[in-house]
């Protein structure tokens, strides 16, 4: 599989990355290198192997449903660019 420039541009847009034409070409070459590795791995016979979803062979630890966090709004909002009436303000996003 080989990625086109358009593919890279699309992924960059989805990830909100601003990239120059030169950076896109570099990324395209690097990503294609990764796809070559994937192609090599896909040649391995994995029938009978359960797909891995995590690198550690452990299961999720669970937390008791008890409130442990207190209100730290003032501390958190001190580093926010703009707040009002307890809300974080961001550029208007309505459609």
């Amino acid at each position: 599989m080989s990625l086109s420039t358009q593919d890279v541009e699309k992924v960059a847009r989805l990830a909100r990355l601003a990239m120059t034409g030169e950076e896109i070409e570099t990324a395209r070459a690097q990503l294609n290198g990764i796809f070559d590795l994937i192609a090599e791995m896909q040649a391995v016979d994995t029938s009978g192997v359960e797909p891995m979803s995590h690198s550690q062979d452990l299961s999720q630890r669970l937390r008791e449903d008890r409130v442990t966090e207190s209100d730290q709004r003032d501390a958190f909002q001190r580093i926010a660019p703009q707040v009002e009436a307890g809300l974080y303000l961001v550029p208007k996003v309505i459609e």
Binding site: S55, Q60, R61, Q72, F76, E84, L87, Y88, I94
Partner: protein, 481 residues
């Protein structure tokens, strides 16, 4: 040829945990903005999610209650998109390995016009755990949007049905049955105004026998009435569009309750390119058979089972379905029946009739009923054993409602105790017949209608207290001569 309507639902049910799905911040509704937005909800650098056991337990309960497969191993995935009410840039959800799969829900579709009520089984494709987003407030911030992240991280169970519904009535019946069930098993408070139970409805139309048509998804319906209206409007719109030579484009649409119309949201480019992948911050969730058994043992009798049992005990399908529409109502009914054993029909009639009507008038729900099940059962027991007539019982009921008190004392105080002593009734009847010898003769010569006259006279003489069934029987005997 008519059109066939095809509907599937996705319901976001907020789980009734104390804390968020991945952190120990409170989920209480109505707090001041961002006071429950902890470091995890805000996605501050370096934080890690830790899964809430209470959320998993609720998902397991739902799986058991719908006869579903509960995955021994399920996986959390990142659903990537950018929006300010989702500070991480992704929502933690489940994708190809959800916690619950292949369930079903039996629904009762009410009668409509000439079509009688019927039962239907709707298949549930899957139910998966995920986190809710925050809230965006678009007004009053000088061209800015205000973000409240209290809701961010609240646990949701997204319940996805198969496209099994064939009318708006079926879709509403399914949504209502699901709404009843999640409250019944105690996993969701069901408060639709507060957004605890939100429905997305996928609608398409086709000619019967044809492949599925293109669907449009009506987002975020938070009332059953709006759901009905939105589907009705959308179906007509799709049929008109196709019949006028147009085609349906897949779209996400919103329902406007003020105009009763649906309209497409401006579709964002790439909006559905979520690039799911397993979340490396979370290990696979494992659910043991033992844990499932423990949870199964805590589940109450389910609405559908209860309904079937009531019908076996002699109630109509309608009565049984009304009484199992909410757990509090079914509990009240059974407690009433405990007081008046064997009187299932009488208890059902009074709960669905007198009690419900009075609750409606007073704007109360069953949990706020001023009369306890014990009080009501005590009264119904006295109807059953003929101590009080039905109309006398209604009088007692009205007093009980406003002033309280127990049935026996009120019957006594109001002098409503029926005369069931055969000798006493016979005496009254004898006197009436003696005083109306001419009418007796007329009756015996064939004027049957006069029977009512004798009943009236005897009742009057007993000051309305004679047991009507006994009085009828004695009168018939004596008049027969």
């Amino acid at each position: 040829m008519t059109w066939e309507i095809v509907i599937g639902l996705e319901v976001h049910s907020q789980l009734s945990t104390n804390t968020k799905i991945f952190s120990g911040a409170s989920t209480a509704f109505g707090a001041e903005p961002n006071t429950q937005a902890d470091a995890v909800s805000l996605a501050l650098p370096g934080v890690l999610p830790v899964l809430n056991k209470g959320a998993v337990e609720r998902a397991i309960k739902f799986g058991i209650a719908t006869g579903a497969h509960i995955a021994p191993r399920s996986v959390f995935a990142r659903k990537n998109y950018f929006y300010p009410d989702l500070p991480k840039g992704y929502q933690i959800s489940q994708f190809d390995l959800p916690v619950v799969g292949n369930g079903q829900l039996v629904i009762q579709v009410p009668a409509q016009g000439k079509q009688p009520a019927y039962e239907k089984t709707v298949r549930i494709t899957r139910a998966h755990l995920e986190e809710d987003a925050g809230k965006s407030l678009h007004e009053d911030f000088h061209g800015m949007t205000g973000i409240d992240l209290n809701r961010a991280g609240t646990p949701l169970l997204e319940i996805v049905s198969e496209p099994d519904m064939r009318s708006a009535a079926e879709a509403v019946a399914y949504a209502k049955a699901l709404h009843t069930l999640v409250q019944w098993i105690g996993i969701c408070d069901g408060n639709m105004q507060e957004g605890s139970f939100r429905c997305d409805v996928n609608v398409s139309v086709r000619k019967p026998g044809q492949p599925l048509g293109t669907r449009r998804e009506i987002k975020n319906l938070n009332s059953f009435k709006f759901m009905q209206q939105a589907i009705d409007y959308e179906v007509q719109w799709q049929i008109d569009t196709i019949e006028n030579g147009g085609t349906i484009q897949q779209a996400t649409i919103l329902f406007n309750p003020d105009t009763g119309e649906t309209r497409a949201m401006r579709s964002k480019e790439d909006a559905h390119d979520y690039r799911y992948f397993p979340d490396p911050d979370l290990l696979p969730l494992e659910i043991s058979e033992e844990w499932k058994q423990q949870i199964a043992a805590t589940l109450p009798e389910l609405p559908h089972t209860k309904q079937a049992r009531y019908q076996e005990q002699g109630l109509s399908a309608y009565d049984a379905s009304v009484l199992t529409s909410a757990r509090a109502l079914a509990d009240f009914f059974e407690a009433t029946l405990d007081e008046a054993p064997g009187q299932i029909k009488l208890c059902a009639n009074w709960l669905i009739g007198e009690v419900s009507a009075q609750l409606n008038r007073d704007g109360l729900d069953i949990a706020q009923c001023p009369i306890s099940a014990q009080q009501l059962g005590g009264l119904l027991k006295r109807i059953a054993d003929n101590t009080v007539s039905n109309s006398g019982a209604k009088e007692v009921f009205r007093t009980m409602w406003t002033e309280g008190g127990d049935a026996d004392a009120l019957i006594e105080a109001k002098g409503l105790k029926q005369v069931s002593d055969t000798g006493a009734i016979e005496k009254i009847v004898d006197e009436i017949l003696a005083a109306n010898a001419d009418k007796v003769a007329e009756y015996r010569s064939g004027k049957d209608k006069l029977f009512g006259f004798f009943v009236g006279q005897a009742m009057k003489a007993s000051q309305g207290k004679a047991n009507p069934a006994q009085l009828n029987e004695i009168l018939k005997q004596k008049l027969a001569g």
